[in-house]
């Protein structure tokens, strides 16, 4: 059993295999200690625990589970924009028009996902509302939350693409929603005089936005598929351009954490 070979092979199909462990340093340290103790006989047990730790907590969700997760986020967004419209703080004209366009899309996504889940003999989640106590009274803060929801949505869909590979049609629909969420995020960011893409500095913002751009893989990440974008492409690129040129995933658990969208769901 050659763990280095296993990890290398895993890295071929899972670019983030090393990122799944607590930290590279910790893994190397554990490996070093194991070797030092000469506990070769214990190696399989050790390897097994290492991998169950990295992958174990996320047993592959079913397609229905993925769709209901997406539906939960869409219901949250839809209710948020309904509340935003009802609160009456959105300036008439371009701003109100943009919020209406986005709300229309979220409502369409809710219907499409619900219908799809039913067609697959599943039960769509219902009654997921934006937590009333978390709804901001003022317009600028409403836009902050809108940005948080949209950029979270982009990361959330991206994180589930791999779980829909078994169904080409569903995967394509998920991608078609994913890019709409990115268009929404870009526009909301523009309404806040922010660049349409995610600069590296966003990962250091205070809550509620900061946690949206952190996680196991932060949005200021500059390493893609083991390639350091700033230094290993022949031409040097800035850390900010390297970070902004690739968006990053969030796992289901990360999205549903109380520090992110999970903390905005009523009840």
């Amino acid at each position: 059993m050659n763990i280095l070979r296993i990890i290398e092979q895993l890295s071929e199909v899972d670019a983030d295999v090393l990122g799944r462990f607590d930290s590279r340093r910790a893994v190397f340290k554990s490996l070093g200690n194991t070797a030092k103790m000469g506990a070769l006989a214990a190696a399989p047990v050790f390897v097994s625990s290492l991998f169950s730790k990295a992958y174990g907590q996320t047993t592959t969700p079913s397609v229905i589970e993925v769709l209901n997760y997406a539906l939960t986020l869409e219901l949250l967004e839809e209710d948020f924009y309904k509340k935003m419209t009802a609160a009456g703080k959105v300036p008439a004209g371009a701003a109100a028009g943009a919020i209406a366009t986005i709300l229309k899309h979220e409502t369409a996504h809710v219907k499409l996902l619900s219908d799809t889940i039913k067609a697959l003999s599943g039960t769509p989640v219902t009654n997921k509302k934006f937590k009333a106590s978390a709804f901001p009274a003022d317009y600028p803060t409403q836009l902050v939350v809108a940005q948080a929801l949209e950029d979270t949505g982009v990361r959330a869909y991206k994180g589930q693409a791999g779980n829909l590979m078994s169904n080409s049609a569903l995967l394509q629909v998920a991608l078609q929603i994913h890019s709409v969420e990115a268009r929404h995020a870009a526009h909301i960011r523009g309404m806040r005089q922010q660049p349409a893409w995610i600069p590296a500095s966003d990962s250091a913002l205070p809550a509620p936005l900061g946690p949206v751009y952190t996680g196991g893989i932060r949005e200021d990440n500059v390493i893609q598929s083991n390639v350091n974008i700033t230094s290993q492409l022949g031409t040097p690129y800035s850390a900010n351009d390297a970070a902004a040129s690739f968006d990053e995933i969030l796992t289901m658990a990360e999205v549903l954490d109380a520090s992110r969208a999970g903390g905005l769901v009523q009840g």
């Binding site: 070093g32 943009a98 870009a186 523009g190 690129y237 040129s245």
Partner: protein, 240 residues
């Protein structure tokens, strides 16, 4: 104290083989990407693989996952060359902020191009398509409106291309990478659209009644992009 030191050095020593196989994949040997300044003259340099470039000059993007990666690499070459020119000769009627933002977009697309070049050379040696020759005679780079109209075409097309190609990828890691890039293209598309007409970031031209963005098949995307590329592209086997 000495104990800690010893652990650290053992840790580094033990870590070596883990890093080595990843780095060893000849990455640096292939990663020599051209700078933005020469992007308009992306030179075709494929002289030893007649399967990729047929005798009549057609560039065959290939099949399977490599085909999808070459397809993405072709589109990113086109976008990168376009924005390199935008950056080199910015339209006089661009604002300072617009110039700054388009310089960033130029960097994003150059990164995408260079990343695919490096990844294909690493993961599928000998199967990469050559540098393509862009044709931008229809673009007036001195006019903001002309640049924005072309940028909108490229960005919307890029989004639809990635959306339609995801299902052809068999390697999960590549699908994630494609997802990481397509949302950035969608951000560019929305930004450019809003510059042309505020509020058009996701209008009915691109988003249907189900709230879905466009998804296009590789052959259709190549047909749409072909007038901007000198070499004829064959996408008929991409993902197949």
């Amino acid at each position: 104290m000495s104990n800690i030191k010893q652990n650290a050095s053992e840790e580094a020593e033990f870590a070596k083989p883990l890093y080595t196989p990843i780095k060893r994949r000849s990455f640096f040997m292939y990663a020599g990407a051209t700078a933005g300044a020469t992007a308009l003259l992306l030179s075709g340099c494929d002289d030893d693989d007649n399967e990729i470039v047929t005798p009549d000059g057609t560039v065959n993007l290939g099949s399977g996952d490599v085909g999808v990666l070459n397809y993405a690499y072709a589109l990113e070459q086109l976008e990168a060359a376009f924005y390199a020119q935008v950056k080199a000769t910015p339209a006089a009627d661009f604002s300072t902020l617009e110039k700054d933002y388009f310089n960033q977009v130029a960097a994003h697309e150059a990164i995408h191009r260079d990343f695919f070049k490096a990844a294909i050379n690493r993961d599928a040696p000998g199967q990469i398509i050559p540098g393509l020759t862009p044709i931008f005679t229809s673009v007036d780079f001195t006019k903001r409106a002309s640049v924005l109209a072309t940028a909108k075409t490229f960005e919307d097309l890029g989004v639809a291309a990635y959306n339609g190609a995801g299902k052809y990828l068999k390697t999960p890691a590549y699908l994630v990478i494609a997802g990481q890039i397509v949302s950035v293209e969608a951000r560019h598309a929305a930004y450019v659209r809003d510059l042309i007409s505020n509020g058009s970031f996701a209008n009915e031209e691109v988003i249907d009644a189900n709230g879905l963005d466009k998804a296009m098949e590789p052959v259709d995307v190549v047909t749409a992009a072909q007038s901007f590329i000198k070499e004829k592209l064959d996408a008929s086997k991409v993902g197949k």
